[in-house]
Symmetry: C2
Subunit: 195 residues, 2 copies
DNA sequence: GTCTATAAGTAGATAGAC
DNA sequence: GTCTATCTACTTATAGAC
């Protein structure tokens, strides 16, 4: 099927997503208007509705896409080796993945409140799946005696909070490379759960 | 000076703050209207302007109050003892203080984007002062050889992110008391920075 | 101190021309 | 596919009666 003259659908669509992500990350979902997004893309507000049924879907699609990327990359790596090796891999992966997508991370952690209940349930399900991966590693390590954590669930949430916090201060122009940051955090995670 | 008949200033004022805090925490600053706050208090929207010059001041006063409470309570305790004792005190204090004020914590960490530049600078200054307390403890411990942290600044931010993250999952009705949570986190912090 | 009424502007979303 | 124009509702903030 030949494309119609003047069709920019395959170009404008991704640009709408990018503009929304950028603006939601900087100012917050509720503070950003459809007109602002349109201006960033370079179209009028009405044109946005060729690419999204409404503003809420724009937010939900961004967050679902981010979480699905996260899960897909985890699945691709698969946990090889013992608990210690898997924990190191998880830690370095989490840091690297999050430092590559600061806007998506920010939106995914800050805008949960602005999801409609049904959409919230979907995102929460994906997040829970990711957390369970880490919890499984910690529980395996405890069973083998290489880790000592009094409460694997709390330890999981504590480690993820620590790792994700890196996005609040890391700057690409700063003194540390993502790999160096990964090493600093791995050192702390390793010791925190050590037997 | 006798109070005028019908004056509720000393009662309504705090109620406005409480309602704003509650609603900002649940839905976000940008998503909450002055009418919603007024409805929660039980007055009309116009009456709110007897207590705040504008919506932005409402947010700023809440955040500044929270940070000043935090700094005041820290100052009152003062760091006695060696680095290990001071770190334990800091950790347990941070957990307890944050679990007592979930709404204020949530607003203070989520709404930084919605502060006007001048207000943002004030809050950031207060936060920096708090972080410096922890960084000083870690640096003292490294100097004495009781701690081993490759990068005290990064370790400070990592520990604070881990501790503050407790507010995202803790529920009063849950299986753990605040003191028990404090002990779980202290165990991880202690090991994470241990020599 | 609180009310009602209102000003002046912006929101999300849609209709129809091109 | 994008535009202009518009609908309806809501926003912050103020003015003036009581």
């Amino acid at each position: 099927m030949a494309r119609k003259t003047g069709s920019h659908s395959d170009i404008t669509g991704p640009r709408v997503q990018q503009a929304a992500l950028r603006l939601f990350a900087r100012h917050g979902y509720a503070a950003v208007s459809m007109r602002q997004i349109a201006a960033e893309v370079g179209v009028q507000a009405g044109a946005l509705y060729n690419y999204t049924p409404d503003k809420q879907s724009l937010l939900f699609d961004l967050m679902r896409g981010h979480m699905e990327d996260l899960m897909a990359e985890r699945a691709a790596r698969g946990g090889q080796g013992g608990p210690l090796a898997r924990l190191e891999e998880f830690t370095r992966f989490h840091i690297a993945f999050h430092l590559e997508r600061p806007d998506a991370v920010f939106v995914s952690y800050m805008e949960l409140r602005n999801l409609e209940p049904k959409n919230f349930a979907v995102i929460e399900g994906l997040r829970r799946g990711y957390e369970n991966e880490l919890q499984g590693i910690l529980e395996d390590g405890v069973a083998e005696g290489v880790f000592a954590v009094a409460d694997p669930k709390v330890a999981t949430l504590a480690v993820i909070a620590m790792l994700t916090g890196v996005t609040t201060w890391y700057r690409r122009e700063g003194r540390l490379s993502p790999a160096e940051v990964g090493t600093l955090y791995w050192d702390m995670v390793r010791k925190a759960v050590a037997a």
